[in-house]
Structures are given as C-alpha cells and as structure tokens.
C-alpha cells in the first residue's frame, strides 16, 4: 500500500473528538523505519489522543493509520485492530508497572502472551533486562523499585518482544530533574541501539529538541510545524512555535516594508509614544500594515551598560532592568522596553540593579519576524 518501503507509521487525515470538542484535527505524518519522532505541545493539545489512536486505545472518527504494511484503523473502511493485534509497545506516564508481578514477569509478559518457548522467554527477558541495567533485580517485586527503575521496567516490557513501533506518553514527566536527563539519554541510546521506530509525546521542548530526529509541534488539536530540531528552533513557522520552543520574547508591531530578506517593523511602544523601528528577517506572506511579531531569543541579545558607539550593532534598544535570576552558570534577566519585556542571558557577572537603564542590541539576522 505504502509507496515508500521505509515508512513504518503513516497517519492520514486523522480526526478525533470528545463530544463537541476536537482533540485531534487533520493529523498527517509519515514516520520512517527507525525514526524517533516527538509530538510536542502544551497540555491538552491532543498529543496523547494521537498516540492512543496509534495504539488502538482510542477510536478515531476519521482518517487512516498504517503500521508497516497493515492498516490498523480506518473508520471509513470499518477497519479497527485492537491494541493487542498491532505489534506495538507503549510506555506510559505513570509507569504502569504491575505491582503484583516481579520485574521478570512484567518484562516477560509480552513474550508469554505471544506463546514464546520458555527458553526464549528466559533468554530474551534477561537480555532486555541487561539492556536497561536491571538484570540484578529480576526477582524483585515491582513495588520495591524506585521511580527510575520502574520506568526502566516499563521500557523493557515494551521492547522485549521487539514490536515494530514503540510509543512513549510523557514517560519522563514523573521523574525528578536529574533522573529525567539520565533516562532521556538512555532512551535515546536504546532506541538507536535497537533501531526501533519511536513516537514520543512530551510537553517539554528541551526533551523534544535533544531526543528527536523530527519534532511535530501541536497546538489546539492541530499540527503547527513538522521539522528536525534545528529547523524548528531556528525557523519557527509561527509565533506559537517560536514562543513554545525555548524562551522567546515576542514584540508585537506593524510590518512597514521589506528590503530583500530584511524587513522593518514598527514596534508599538504604548499609546502616544513613538514606535520603535526594528529590522528582522522573515515575515513571508505578510504585507505592509499587517500585525507581526519580532521574536528574539535571550542568547542572541547583547547587553550594554553604556550606550554603545558605532553602527554595527544592528538593532539597538534602550530599556530598564526588571529583575535578574541566578541560574548557576549564568544569569537570566528581564528588561522592560515600553510595554514589552525582553528576556536576556548574562554570561558574566554584572551588578544590575532594578530600574537601571541598559542597552540591548541584536543583529537583524538573529531575530525572526513572524506572521500571527
């Protein structure tokens, strides 16, 4: 059926609603064999619903999902395969490790259900446990494990029988910060090692950017952008994506005109005040007079305590310090510019006081003008 032999999961025009409310609207994607794709978006945007449609835990209203060569759901053709017939693995947010079984029994469950021989069950389960570093805890009951260990059991349980696709629904969000990073790297390592196609749901953009081959950004049941992490980070398709990926300041203004790649924007400085003229790239599709947002990342903004001399600073803005937060290796600060707030990063220690006048500069190439 599929034109591309490498496509492992394809989702076509998927729709799912709960009552009148759309949870997923016109979702399309093709995921290649071995690819790691992340669904990223704020809570309630429909990521879990999409994933559960793939798993067979929800029934979509319309669309078609194929896993490998098999159509697993297509309401229009009255096709629906139950989860147990889809050859998938899934890891849940709450771990869902069965407390009445040992670690071994948890992990071996999939093989037992598939009527593997007892020899195979034993070797494969122990192999998988080794892979996640839990072989020494095989006989322990799941209730006697830490959160990180439980999540490893859940992971091992989902990959032990070598499914075609593995689905992750925010598996790291119940772990504490340190463990989360560790598990994150481990999942990536395992995924590459096993080469299994993965769909990973998260609301944490850094997780998505670090782990994925491709990121699908969703908002309000709709895909906003699909791309590899660099692309998403450097070239957000719209204000929502820019805002959601990393800390971004957005300055609203009117598009004035454009000169090649560079456009100029009049950022409003509040009623009666002279608008601030900024230059940025982008704004494809917008025409002069349209409302646009100039997006700025903290790391692209340079801080000056005195008004800098010369003209090679690109855009220059005057503002007042709101506050600073100490974040270990660097300081994060906020500066008020008219009605706007701009986040900045300060690498070396500066003694900034509240309301102190500072100057911010950034190159037009580093700021993106986004249509709304």
């Amino acid at each position: 059926m599929s034109t591309n032999n490498n496509v492992m999961v394809s989702i076509d025009h998927l729709y799912k609603s709960y009552g009148p409310e759309m949870a997923v609207k016109d979702f399309n994607i093709e995921i290649e064999q071995g690819e790691f794709v992340t669904l990223l978006g704020p809570s309630g945007c429909g990521k879990t619903t999409t994933l559960r449609c793939v798993a067979g835990l929800e029934r979509p209203e319309a669309g078609e999902i194929r896993i490998g060569e098999t159509t697993v759901v297509a309401p229009e053709k009255e096709i629906f395969l139950y989860p147990e017939h889809r050859n998938i693995g899934m890891v849940f947010q709450s771990y869902a490790v069965w407390p009445h079984m040992t670690v071994f029994d948890n992990v071996a469950y999939g093989l037992r259900v598939r009527r593997a021989s007892s020899n195979e069950i034993k070797t494969k389960t122990m192999q998988t446990l080794e892979l996640v570093g839990l072989d020494h805890l095989a006989d322990r009951f799941a209730t006697k494990l830490s959160g990180g260990q439980r999540q490893r059991v859940a992971l091992a349980r989902a990959i032990c029988y070598q499914p075609e696709v593995i689905l992750f629904d925010e598996p790291l969000s119940n772990l504490d910060a340190k463990l989360r990073e560790q598990m994150r790297d481990e999942i990536v390592r395992l995924q590459k090692e096993v080469g299994i196609t993965s769909i990973f749901v998260t609301h944490d953009q850094s997780e998505a950017l670090v782990m994925s081959d491709r990121v699908v950004v969703m908002d309000k049941a709709v895909i906003q952008q699909v791309g590899d992490p660099q692309e998403i980070y450097a070239n957000p398709a719209n204000s929502f994506v820019a805002n959601f990926i990393g800390v971004t300041s957005l300055l609203e203004g009117k598009l004035d005109g454009r000169d090649g790649d560079i456009c100029s924007v009049d950022v409003s400085m509040g009623q009666g005040a002279e608008p601030l003229r900024l230059r940025a790239i982008g704004a494809e599709g917008a025409t002069p007079g349209d409302t646009v947002n100039v997006s700025l990342r903290p790391e692209d903004v340079t801080l000056h305590l005195e008004r800098p001399q010369g003209t090679d600073h690109g855009n220059l803005i005057e503002g007042n310090v709101i506050d600073t937060i100490y974040l270990g290796s660097f300081l994060e600060g906020r500066v008020r510019v008219g009605p706007h707030e701009i986040g900045i990063q300060i690498d070396h220690f500066e003694n900034l006081v509240r309301d102190q006048t500072v100057y911010l500069s950034f190159q037009p190439e580093h700021s993106l003008c986004l249509a709304n």
Binding site: A55, E84, S94, A96, P99, H100, G110, V113, R157, A158
Partner: protein, 584 residues
C-alpha cells in the same frame, strides 16, 4: 559537695513530680475513663461467655460443675457436629456465590459500557440494607415445592409437573445468603476498580494481551486483596447469620451453629452453658478470620491509583454489553424485585396456597400486624415496630456519640488508653451478633436490665458502634489536624473548635453513619432473638414469631412493613450521604 548532691536530687524529684502531674491531665483521665467503659461493655461479656462455657449442666438441669464437658458434647452430640459442617458448607457456598456476583457486578458497573450502569448501581446495593431473614421468607414463598409462587407459575404456564426449584434446603440458604451478601463484596472492590490507573490495563493490551487475558492477569489480581477481604467478611457474616438457615434449612433437618445456639439460649431445653461453648467455637473461627483479614490482607492492597494522566477507562463490550445489562437486571430481579413482589402478593391473601386468588385479596394481615389498637392485633408483631424504632433511634444516636468521642480520642489526643480504644473498637467486628448476644445474656441475666429494652440497646451498641467509629475515623484521617489547630491558634477554645470546626466537617459522615446504624438496628435479628422477652420483641423478632407460630401471609405483611421502613431509610441515606458515601 553535699549541697550539690542535695540540689541535684531535688531537681530530679521535681522533674518526676512534673512528669506525674503532666500525666494526670484532663485529657488522659477522660480517655482512660472512656476506654474502661468500652472495655467493660466489650470485654466483660466475652470473658463471662468464656468462663460460662466451662460450666457443665448436670442432666437434671439443676446444678453445674466445672469442666470441658460442653466442648466434648460438641463432638459427641447427635446434631452439633452436623450443624458445624452445615455452617461451613453454607458459609463457603455463599462466599463463592457472593464473591462471584459482587465482583462481576462491580466490574460491570465500574469498568464497562453496560447500558444504564449508574442507574443500576443503587439497586445492586439494596440487598445490603434489607434483611436476609425477610429475603429467606420471600424466597420460601417463591421456591417452596408446593406453595412456591415460581413453582406454581411453572406448573400453570408451562404445564410442568412437580417443582422447578426447591429452596428449603442448604442450597436455598446458600442462594439467599449469597445474593444478599453480594453487595458486601461489591463495596470492597468497586472503589479500587473505579479508581485503578487505566494504564495498568492499557499496557497489558498494548503488550499483546486481549481483553479476557488482561482482566484475568492484571485487573483481577490487582483487586484481589479487596476480593479476599470481601470474601472473608461474607464468610464470617454468613457463619453468624441466623435468620436464613432458621427459615430455610433448620426446619428441614439442616441445623447450623447459629440455629443450635439459639435453641440452647431459649426454649424448653435451654442450656446457656452449652450455648456459650458453641458460641466460643463460632467466635474463635470468626475472630481468627477477621484477624487474618485485618493483619495480612487489608495491608496488602496495591496502590494502583495515580493522579496524573488519568482517563476514565470504560471498556467497550460491544454487543456483549446487553448480556451484562441482562445479568445485572437478573440480579436485581432475584435479589430485590421478586422477593418484594412476592411478599406483597402473599401478604394480601388470608391464607397462602401458592396461587393468586384475586377474589380473596384482603388487608387483614396488615391490620393484625400493624394496628396495635385493633382487637385482633398480634402483640408480638405490633410491639416490634415501636421497640425497633426506639432501639434504632436511641441506639444509633448513642453509638454515634460514642463513636465520635472515641474517634476524636484516637485521632486527636494522645491520652492513655488510646491504643486500647483502637483495639477495643476492632474486637466486636470479629464476633457474630449471636455470639456477643450469648455473652450479654449470660452476663446480665441475673441483673435488672435483663428483660428490658436496655439489654438489647447495650448489645446493639456494643456490637455495632465500631461501624460508626470507622466511618468517622476515616473522615478524621482525611481532614487535616491543622484545620483544628489553626482554629485553636486563632484563639478559639477547645470546645468552640469542636463545635465550629470539627463537627461541621464531620457532619456528612455523622449522618451517614447514623442512618447506616439505624438501618442495621431496624432489621437486627440475631442479637434480638437471644435477648428478647415478651414485651421487648423487635421487628425481626415479630417476623420470627409470626413465621413460627402464625402463617405466611401475616409474616409477609410484617416483613413488608419492615422492608418499606428500610427502603425509606435507604432513600434518606442516599439523599443525605450522597452517591459516593458507600462506594468511594
């Protein structure tokens, strides 16, 4: 040097004094007094029962000697060993039936898309509140081979010879006990089924297990501690159940321990010491089982609830949902609708022959059993309503006050005797009512409260206040102590705090507990049957009297009156306590 020693001695002494004085606080004194009163009520009858069981009545029935004779008799008697075996068979059978019904209904209502499940649930629970004794009476009228309504219908409608069912045997007892105690198991498992993290089952499905396998290997094992707890409670309650075997099996040759205890407590060949020994035997079994449940099974329940990522997980049964619906309706029919309809029909006939005779319909049975001013009134029946209402109102009120005081002491004070109170409010749960009643009987038979309503009240409260206490305790555990403390810090006195903060927060629980006890007392049989005398009959004793000495229509009329009162109380319970009161 000497002065130093002296002064350090003095410091020591005054420290000791202070500690002693600190111990004799109001709090400690009150807790101790309450603990001693409760201990008196709970422990004394059990000790007297124990002692009494070693007194052997001589054949003439005049004198007693000390010895193990009663216990020997239990093995050598013609009837008792069989009664013992029958009790075990009945308890095992009804436990299996009740567990199957309770778990399957809870699963259907909590986890599937069975049509109308939230409307059906209250009706599934109704048998929990009704009297199993009355259930036995109703089923006798439905399933007696000659006069049973169902058998007559089968003969008339389908032209069947003989009888399709016969409930007047040990199977009938299992049947009625099983359907009436199914809600007990239901209540033990429905909460954890409803709140179980759905991803536990989802992950079994995505791992490759089908619906059936998931249910068998994940869902049921996870609620197994609840199932076992419920099963043990049903076993113990069935073993202590008097009314059902008394009505359905004892007259036909299947005695049980409870019917034997009863025959030794009252009647011509009464032998309280023999009854005490049998009560000890029954009590030891039930206490042991309850201990196992409390000590080993209840603490093992799995925490399967997670706050995050929760989705209500309802299984789509497809066309099978109508099978589930039919099954549910079938249960409500046999446990609630058929018995009540049958009682109404029988109670409207002057005599019951098994056939509905419209021309004969009469209300005379209600006149005779309810209208105490009527010349034909049967006083054993009419006394019952008044006495039961007094006992239910008074008993529920006193029990709840006692429960409130005890819970408050256990959870909010650190006085002496708190641990003892905690233990004491567990003990009565281990003993069937009939056993505790035997204890109360042998303890107080020589005192003036014997043959008054007070002895019934005392036994009711002693046996059942733990239910109210647990009700309040669970809420007290849930409402933070800091609410109390912040009121005290805001300057309110202890009493103001109790009145303005604690009691209002507990109010729903107090109401729910009160009505629950009211219902229990209104239908109470196995304590009353041991302790009543002429004039202190209760409702259920009235029913017993009518079924024993009068006819089925009169029995059905009073049974119906009791059932109506219980149904009103159930309605009030649901209105006041809310939907979640029982099943949460």
């Amino acid at each position: 040097m000497t002065t130093e020693t002296y002064s350090s001695n003095a410091v020591e002494r005054s420290r000791l004094n202070n500690r002693l004085r600190a111990m004799v606080t109001q709090e400690n004194l009150i807790t101790l007094v309450v603990a001693l009163i409760v201990a008196g009520a709970v422990i004394v009858p059990l000790v007297v029962l124990f002692v009494s069981s070693f007194k052997v009545l001589d054949p003439a029935g005049w004198d007693t000697t000390w010895g193990f004779g009663n216990y020997v008799t239990m093995f050598t008697d013609r009837i008792i060993p069989k009664a013992f075996v029958n009790t075990l068979i009945i308890s095992s059978g009804s436990t299996i039936l009740a567990t199957f019904l309770g778990v399957s209904l809870a699963w259907i209502n909590a986890r599937t898309n069975c049509p109308g499940r939230s409307y059906l649930e209250p009706y599934n629970l109704i048998p929990f509140f009704l009297s199993p004794f009355v259930g036995a009476i109703a089923w006798h009228n439905l399933g007696e081979p000659q006069t049973g309504l169902l058998n007559n219908l089968a003969r008339e409608v389908f032209g069947i010879e003989g009888a399709i069912i016969n409930v007047d045997n040990i199977w009938g007892v299992i049947w009625v006990t099983g359907i009436f105690f199914a809600p007990l198991v239901y209540l033990f498992v429905v909460g954890s089924l409803r709140r179980m993290d759905p991803s536990l089952e989802d992950s079994a499905r995505t791992t490759g297990a089908g619906l059936f396998r998931t249910t068998m290997t994940v869902t049921l094992p996870l609620v197994m501690p609840g199932i076992l707890s419920g099963a043990i409670i049903v076993f113990v309650t069935s073993a202590g159940e008097f009314g059902v075997p008394f009505k359905l099996s004892a007259p036909y040759g299947w005695e049980t321990l409870t019917t034997q205890i009863f025959s030794k407590a009252v009647g011509d060949d009464a032998n309280h010491h023999m009854g005490a020994a049998m009560s000890m035997a029954l009590g030891i079994i039930t206490v042991f089982l309850i201990w196992v449940q409390q000590r080993y099974i209840a603490p093992r329940s799995f925490t399967t609830v997670t706050g995050k990522g929760f989705r209500p997980n309802v299984l789509d049964l497809g066309p099978w949902r109508w099978v589930a619906f039919g099954y549910n309706i079938f249960f409500i029919m046999v446990a609630v609708v058929l018995p009540i309809v049958c009682l109404i029909i029988v109670s409207l006939h002057p005599v019951w022959t098994g056939k509905i005779v419209l021309a004969d319909i009469t209300t005379i049975n209600y006149v005779k059993t309810l209208m105490w001013w009527h010349p034909e009134a049967i006083s054993a029946a009419t006394n019952g309503i008044g006495n039961s209402l007094i006992l239910a109102f008074g008993g529920a009120s006193i029990s709840m006050v006692l429960a409130l005081v005890i819970s408050y002491m256990i959870h909010r004070t650190k006085g002496f005797g708190v641990r003892m109170l905690d233990f004491l409010s567990m003990v009565p749960i281990g003993f069937p009512g009939i056993v505790l009643a035997m204890g109360v009987l042998v303890t107080y038979i020589q005192t003036p409260i014997y043959a008054t309503l007070w002895i019934l009240m005392l036994a009711y409260i002693t046996r059942f206040f733990p239910y109210g206490q647990r009700n309040i305790s669970s809420i007290m555990l849930a409402i933070s102590e800091e609410l109390d403390q912040s009121s005290r810090m805001a300057g309110a006195s202890w009493f103001t705090t109790l009145r303005r903060i604690t009691i209002p927060l507990l109010k729903p629980g107090l109401f729910a507990g009160w009505i629950l006890l009211f219902i229990i007392f209104l239908r109470e049989l196995s304590i009353s049957i041991i302790l009543f005398t002429t004039g202190t009959e209760t409702l259920s004793v009235g029913v017993y009297y009518l079924t024993n000495f009068e006819n089925e229509p009169l029995t059905s009329a009073l049974s119906m009156a009791q059932t109506v009162m219980l149904l009103i109380a159930i309605y009030a319970f649901r209105r006041l306590a809310g939907r979640e009161a029982l099943t949460a």
